[in-house]
Symmetry: C2
């Protein structure tokens, strides 16, 4: 028995079979238009009754994932007009100061309320993670290394064991960094703060994707920086052409860094093609601005090999890569890292001045997890699970939301980004949805200029339950009502 | 058997008896000039042989703590001219930019070298701490609260359990804060960053004690702030008169906050009298500058009741108190807190943007430690231990260092601050001492203006061993040699 399953073992057999098929659709093994196995074949292969097989296929049909064709069986549904992707974004040309505090706090507070469906913050379901293994490894680390609890630790750059394991993990991904370049941090958020501190002073401008994670906007605001939003494609990510144009414009002159998530960005789930990553690295180097890479979702591809990080193309040390275990292995551990490149020494000192050190006992436990291969085994399952969830949520949105709703098709991660039809205001929608017990992230959270009023982000990280389905249905009804009223 | 002892159980009986007496001298139960128990009484009370009692008393004599008077027995030595305290400091009137990176790194790196006596960083001996209890509590917390490992936690201000316990701890000390005002941080260092971020922007000036902890100078430097050093008394701490004068001077106009350690400051170990704390709180309020209180050593009084924090006199929310468990309970946990006063809401958001959250599992374990009373029991022993160590180190300095060396007499904490006679340069001394296997903190580390060239700080937090004694002897010889060469 594996330590976790993406579907509860208590679910009916037909639901578990449907989930399995859903996963194949989600990770691309079953493509749009392709025929699903027949009832007979399914029941033989999976050792279930024909009734169960039929119930599974009907459930997929209800979710909008497959369609029945007379005399032919079930086929993966092509994504119709309804599931089209949103268009390339067109943010303003000027840098903006930022302020999204209040809305963010309300969305995060709602995540604490068990009566509100958790589609707001990008928080994965606790059930994804290898809890028992983490418990065992932490307990054994506490037993074997009590000194880590009581040493006023001079290892402010992090424990060598974890720095080594993290460097090794990336080396296997074609991204070679020296162990000395690695600084262990309190999550990716602290890593991003360190990177920004190293290269930008208050008043300076940071080029970002538009839309981008609201946490980036928070950091930028609290540091007194300005954000310059760059046009971004929902599938291919940051437009390097748009960045290039911006850098030679008036607003581009005060840009000190470009902060990007090249792999499975948040909220769009976009992934920059390799050639564009290479161009981005070269462009930043050429303009003398630092490239800060948020890599926190990059291990979460739904299918195929893990995409390269932009840092893999860095030859001059101008790229600072920031990441953590928060979305992959141990959300509560708050252990992250930064590869500081040519800024590494400065960043080490800044880490000492910013928080002294990262708790050593958690570092050692996570190093052990990487050392013993537990990480890779866990990730194989997690990726499949997230892929299935994203496919299922997207299918439910297609089913319950009004025609004209556009949905991103991320190749990794666990959020989807919706463009609603008409002039629907997702801030007003948020107020109504919270009352109805549904949380989501309104579009304007992801923009320094208040854009994306008719967009929203859905967290697909939670296990599929009837409650989640009802919440999506309710949200879809609210959208339809707004649309009718407009 | 207690969970730790300030003297190793493996030490000879006479050493342990000497240590016990040393402790009584250190915490003031035996005062200068007072007669020690006779050999007969000691051997009866402590159930040791007369030989052992004599050996213990002779050992105290060797350490310079007691003197034998013919026909009368042993008496606690009065601190002679040699042990005089340093004078009030006289820092410059202008604010300074800061830069002590290189020296600090070398001192911290030396702390990693087991061949170098650990008198440099203010790192307590791991043996002081209740390791087994910490191990048990963390293991049981991991067992009972696995969800804390895998929840992408929305509790960015900290777990309510720990916020409650910390507020309760302070309420018992006459410092009443609402639980909502508490934000849990990654150590005191992060708390100080949050406080400074809330009230000061790059270019602003922060008033600080002179000398002050080099970590403060690091934070000030990395944030692009300036430091205005205020005259400080080695026993009574920051001069409120001097601060008042500075605030109305030219340099005082850009002061946005005053950052002070009113209780057992580092490096001086000074404690502000209650009236001065009250004046300081009022003065900051009156001038519209924030008071940031570093409270990290305040629980470590050597004797009598714990002094009040300045925050206890705060009526308007203008005082931000920052502290942690790093010097008291669990140096490796990196768990601290800030009471944000009127800035609390802003600080909560800044915490989210700075590091997301503090590891919840360690928060819960420490809350449990406070809840079950383990903290207070531990502290009773720790305070006695630190008191004895400080007394012992000061006695050894009196014995091995040249006449004219002045030593602070801290009433709490575990560092002492030495003023060396003549024109000895402690930066040059540091180079020689490291080669000879002795670490210490040179005076200029503690000043933004490079002052205190003939001062140094010694860490008394490590258990007394023959190795520590040899290191002090060697350092004393080096000082004498420098003096002779000058």
């Amino acid at each position: 028995m594996s330590e976790f399953e993406y579907t509860s073992a208590a679910a009916p057999i037909y639901t578990r079979l449907a989930d399995e098929l859903c996963l194949l659709i989600g990770n691309g093994q079953l493509r749009p238009g392709e025929r699903l196995p027949s009832v007979r074949r399914l029941s033989r292969q999976k050792k279930v009754s024909a009734t169960t097989a039929i119930a599974a296929l009907r459930s997929l049909e209800t979710r909008g994932l497959v369609e029945a064709r007379p005399q032919s069986g079930y086929f993966v549904r092509a994504r119709g007009a309804q599931s089209e992707e949103p268009a390339m974004t067109r943010p303003p040309a000027a840098a903006k100061t930022v302020g999204v505090d209040n809305l963010m706090v309300r969305m995060i507070d709602a995540a604490l309320n068990p009566d509100i469906a958790p589609l707001g913050t990008a928080a994965p379901d606790p059930a994804w993670f290898p809890v028992r293994r983490l418990q065992r490894i932490i307990a054994s680390t506490v037993r074997r290394h009590p000194e880590l609890l009581v040493t006023c630790c001079p290892y402010y750059a992090g424990l060598d064991t974890l720095r080594h394991q993290v460097a090794r993990h990336y080396a296997a991904l074609g991204c070679v960094v020296a162990q000395d370049e690695v600084v262990i941090t309190n999550g990716c958020t602290e890593a991003l703060n360190l990177a920004l501190n190293a290269v930008a002073a208050p008043g300076d401008t940071i080029a970002i994707e538009s839309p981008c994670y609201y946490g980036f906007l928070q950091i930028i605001e609290k540091r007194g920086l300005k954000a310059l939003e760059i046009a971004t494609h929902p599938r291919d990510g940051l437009s390097v052409d748009a960045l290039q144009n911006a850098l030679v414009s008036r607003a581009g002159r005060s840009v000190k860094a470009c902060l990007v998530s090249p792999n499975f960005s948040n909220p769009m789930g976009a992934t920059m093609p390799e050639g564009e990553k290479r161009r981005l690295v070269a462009l930043c180097e050429q303009h003398g601005i630092a490239l800060i890479e948020d890599d926190v979702y990059a291990d979460l591809q739904h299918n195929g090999p893990r995409p390269l990080s932009a840092k893999a193309f860095d030859r001059s040390g101008n790229v600072m890569l920031c990441s953590s275990f928060t979305k992959t292995l141990a959300p509560g551990a708050r252990v992250g890292w930064i590869f500081g490149g040519r800024y590494a020494e400065d960043i080490r000192l800044r880490k000492f001045a910013l928080s002294g050190a990262t708790p050593a006992i958690l570092q050692e436990a996570l190093a052990e997890m990487l050392r013993t291969g537990g990480y890779e085994r866990h990730m194989l399952k997690l990726r499949r699970g997230y892929a299935a969830q994203v496919a299922r949520m997207a299918a439910a949105v297609s089913e319950y939301f009004p025609a004209g709703t556009r949905i991103t098709q991320p190749a990794g991660g666990f959020v989807i980004w919706l463009e609603l039809p008409g002039k629907i205001d997702t801030l007003a929608l948020f107020e109504k949805a919270i009352v109805e017990g549904v949380n989501f992230a309104p579009g304007p959270l992801f923009s320094a200029s208040g854009r994306y009023g008719n967009y929203l982000r859905l967290n697909c990280g939670r296990m599929w339950t009837p409650g989640i389905e009802r919440a999506l249905m309710r949200l879809g009804q609210l959208v339809k009502a707004e649309l009718a009223a407009a």
